[in-house]
């Protein structure tokens, strides 16, 4: 068994357990909501149109967006309940994923439920009335059993959709089989990506087959098939949930967050490792969106993570001035503490700034050393960026400072952005200064003579509720000021490179060893 495969397998009980817990509860909730709505819609055409139209509309929202939209919605609701009742609820993770997937599951259940019920032979419905059944008896004894096979086909479709879509719960902070896919994509670990896809596909297939057994059982009035299908489904869910229940029985530990790129995974692993060495239990929450990570920390959903001063300064605090590095750090820490109660433990010692980079050969040919030089050539060049750069303040600052205007701008998942510049599809990219691939791919970072981009010191942030947690601080304090940019680039490259690829976990160990921790 290869090492990456073995590593993937070790994560399976946790990822699969959550994936099943999420999908099963979304389907169950969807079914509970859809069944009465389908009955109402079948009885009354005035209800049917709006119900099916809304369900159809929800289906047209891209699933990732639907999941993401529940986060601000729940955040707002949580603030309201906190103000009104004194209790909030987590806006990240299970709840938004559950709600989005539930909505997502409802269209096929509703459509098939309505089709099944309206498809019942009117003669049979009339007979049910004629023999003296009440409306409720007619529904339960005649119409529901007759509609069941068609309705069940809808449940099958919903199950396959939900299990597939649940992989997108990862970016909103819910562990799922999507964790394999997102982190694999990020670190170019295709074994991990394939493993995640295959696991989700097998789960969907098995569920579909068991539901199919129930469906044919209902259609052929074969109670044995229905029973076997139900028992197998129930046993499967139970088996998948057991590792979670065992895990939940352990004392709750710290939750370390990470955004969605290699450096974040590595640093999260380093922090987790430090805490574990101190005897604490730690869970990781990877692949959080850039802004979501801070919100999650402020809401105490995660206990600590690494962010960058420039990002916090511009995106979280909404500042557009760029004071000197030390001043910015100090003012940022004060503002975060005052506004959110978030503690800035300190800078790690390296910067991971947004930088514009291009191939050395092209830069030499055009005679470009700085962004100011680039501005003259930009109209003939194509910019490749990650998914958030173009909507960030830093980009606007660069544009206004240097009058940058590219021929075209294209967005990529960071992994593919490096591929794109390597293949010459783009000429300039929005790189990160600590990225190991800058040196590895022979790219040059263009200087920023006007200082348009703020400094991006990596800092450890601690959640408000852990502000007085001495154990946490003691475990993480040794990291402050210890990691220089060379060490970080090396660690990043070991995860991102194509040959002799390391897992973030292994890179974290190597980094710790290099630091003498």
């Amino acid at each position: 068994m290869s090492a990456p495969f073995a590593a993937a397998l070790r994560l399976l009980p946790d990822y699969l357990g959550w994936h099943v817990a999420l999908s099963a509860s979304a389907l169950l909730l969807g079914l509970i909501l859809s069944a009465p709505l389908a009955v109402l819609s079948a009885r009354d055409a005035r209800v049917r149109w709006p119900v099916l139209a809304v369900a159809g509309l929800i289906q047209t929202i891209p699933s990732l967006a639907l999941l993401a939209l529940f986060y601000p919605l729940l955040l707002g609701l949580s603030a309201l309940t906190k103000a009104a009742l004194g209790v909030g609820f987590p806006a990240l993770g299970f709840l938004p994923s559950l709600l989005a997937l539930t909505l997502y599951s409802m269209l096929p259940m509703l459509r098939n439920g309505v089709a099944g019920l309206t498809g019942v032979d009117p003669a049979v419905s009339e007979a049910a009335k004629g023999v003296g059944m009440t409306d409720r008896q007619r529904l339960w004894r005649v119409e529901a059993p007759l509609a069941a096979p068609v309705a069940m086909a809808g449940v099958r479709t919903a199950a396959v959709w939900v299990i597939g879509t649940a992989t997108l719960a990862t970016p909103v902070g819910q562990t799922s089989l999507g964790d394999y896919i997102f982190s694999g994509l990020q670190t170019e670990n295709w074994t991990l990506v394939l493993f995640g896809c295959a696991a989700a596909a097998i789960l969907a297939f098995a569920t579909d087959q068991l539901l199919g057994l129930i469906e044919t059982g209902l259609a052929r009035r074969d109670r044995r098939r229905v029973l076997i299908g139900l028992v197998a489904l129930f046993a499967g869910v139970l088996a998948a949930l057991t590792p979670l229940a065992v895990g939940a029985a352990k004392p709750k530990g710290y939750v370390i967050g990470a955004k969605n790129f290699s450096e974040q995974y590595i640093l999260a692993d380093v922090m987790a490792d430090r805490l574990r060495q101190g005897g604490a239990s730690v869970a990781l929450k990877n692949d959080l969106g850039s802004v979501i990570a801070f919100r999650a920390l402020a809401a105490n959903d995660i206990d600590a993570y690494v962010d960058y001063s420039g990002t916090l300064w511009t995106t979280v605090l909404g500042r557009s001035d760029t004071p000197p590095r030390a001043v910015l750090l100090q003012q940022m820490a004060e503002a975060l503490k005052a506004r959110y109660g978030v503690v800035t433990l300190g800078p790690l010692g390296f910067e991971n700034a947004y930088a514009l980079a291009m191939k050395r050969s092209l830069a030499q040919r055009l005679g470009v050393h700085s962004i100011a030089d680039l501005a003259a050539h930009a109209p003939e060049l194509t910019l490749g960026s990650d998914l958030e750069f173009l909507s960030r303040i830093e980009w606007r600052a660069l544009q206004s400072a240097y009058g940058l205007k590219f021929r075209a701008e294209r967005q990529f998942q960071p992994t593919f952005m490096y591929k794109a510049i390597e293949d010459g599809e783009v000429d300039v990219i929005s790189a990160f200064s600590s990225d190991g691939r800058i040196a590895a791919d022979d790219l040059v970072v263009l200087t920023d003579p006007k200082g348009a981009i703020p400094p991006y010191d990596a800092v450890i942030l601690i959640a408000p509720k852990r502000a007085g947690d001495g154990r946490l601080k003691a475990a993480l304090q040794p990291l402050i000021g210890r990691i220089d940019v060379q060490a970080m680039r090396k660690a990043n490259l070991s995860v991102d490179q194509e040959t002799d690829k390391r897992s973030p976990e292994a890179a974290a160990k190597t980094l710790e060893a290099a630091l003498g921790l």
Partner: protein, 260 residues
């Protein structure tokens, strides 16, 4: 037994039942004849409240049918219709047992009743375990009859019960039901568009046209003539057909006589 007093029902402003009065005596086999759209089905359904009238009263044994909940009323009345409407997810036995179960009969009593009903409609007892979709139209309607009679109703309503069957089966089932009607002392109201069927089965016939009863009497009264022109025309067809068939059989018989 059954009385309709000034019963009216309109659909989209058009009167399907135009203040109809009708009396059916206990034990009577009443057939209501009419073309489609004459209001005959609407009339029948006001009796077991599948349709509630806009005006007028329907009474059974002197009590308005609107008095109690409709499902309780329907459990006391047998109902057979052209669509048959056997429940495809239930066995023949379960179909027949449906109303007794709704009435809360003991399982043993219900099971015995199912066998008795199968005997009554001349179907083998081992049909009880089978699904209805395997049977012919005539057999299915026999099951439909068994289901309607299972809870021992005094009143049976039939809406073109044999309309979808071939002529032979129709005749056989019609006569079989007439026998059951007499044997069980039922009060039956049957709807048909076929005057011949009415003449052969009914104790009394009512003819409906445009929501009204335009002729009423015993079959013999209809053959005597002197009724409304529309009714006369309805009777004319079976009479002419009968005469033609009689003439044919006579010519068919003659050469044989000669040859003998």
């Amino acid at each position: 037994m059954i009385a309709l007093k000034g019963v009216a029902k309109a659909y989209d402003g058009v009167l399907a039942l135009d203040h109809v009065d009708l009396k059916v005596e206990r034990g009577e086999f009443r057939v209501v004849v009419g073309a489609s759209g004459s209001g005959k089905t609407t009339l029948l359904k006001t009796i077991n409240r599948l349709i509630d009238p806009d005006a007028g009263v329907v009474e059974i044994d002197g009590r308005p049918v609107l008095e109690g909940p409709a499902p309780l009323l329907r459990r006391r009345i047998g109902y057979v219709f052209q669509g048959v409407g056997l429940f495809p997810h239930l066995s023949v036995g379960e179909n027949i047992a449906v109303t007794p179960k709704l009435l809360g009969w003991a399982p043993a009593k219900t099971a015995a009743q199912v066998e008795e009903m199968l005997d009554l409609v001349d179907l083998p007892r081992d049909f009880a375990a089978r699904r209805p979709d395997a049977f012919s139209g005539g057999q299915r309607q026999r099951v439909g009859l068994a289901r309607a009679l299972a809870a021992r109703p005094e009143v049976v309503l039939m809406d073109e019960p044999f309309g979808a069957l071939d002529a032979v089966t129709r005749d056989v089932l019609g006569r079989a039901y007439r026998d059951l009607h007499d044997k069980l002392g039922l009060t039956s109201v049957m709807i048909t568009h076929d005057m011949m069927e009415a003449l052969l089965l009914a104790d009394r016939i009512a003819v409906m046209r445009k929501g009204r009863i335009v002729g009423e009497g015993e079959p013999a009264d209809f053959l005597k003539g002197g009724m409304d022109a529309y009714v006369q025309a309805l009777v004319e067809t079976p009479r002419r057909q009968a005469a033609a068939v009689a003439a044919l059989s006579e010519t068919a018989a003659r050469p044989r006589e000669r040859g003998a």
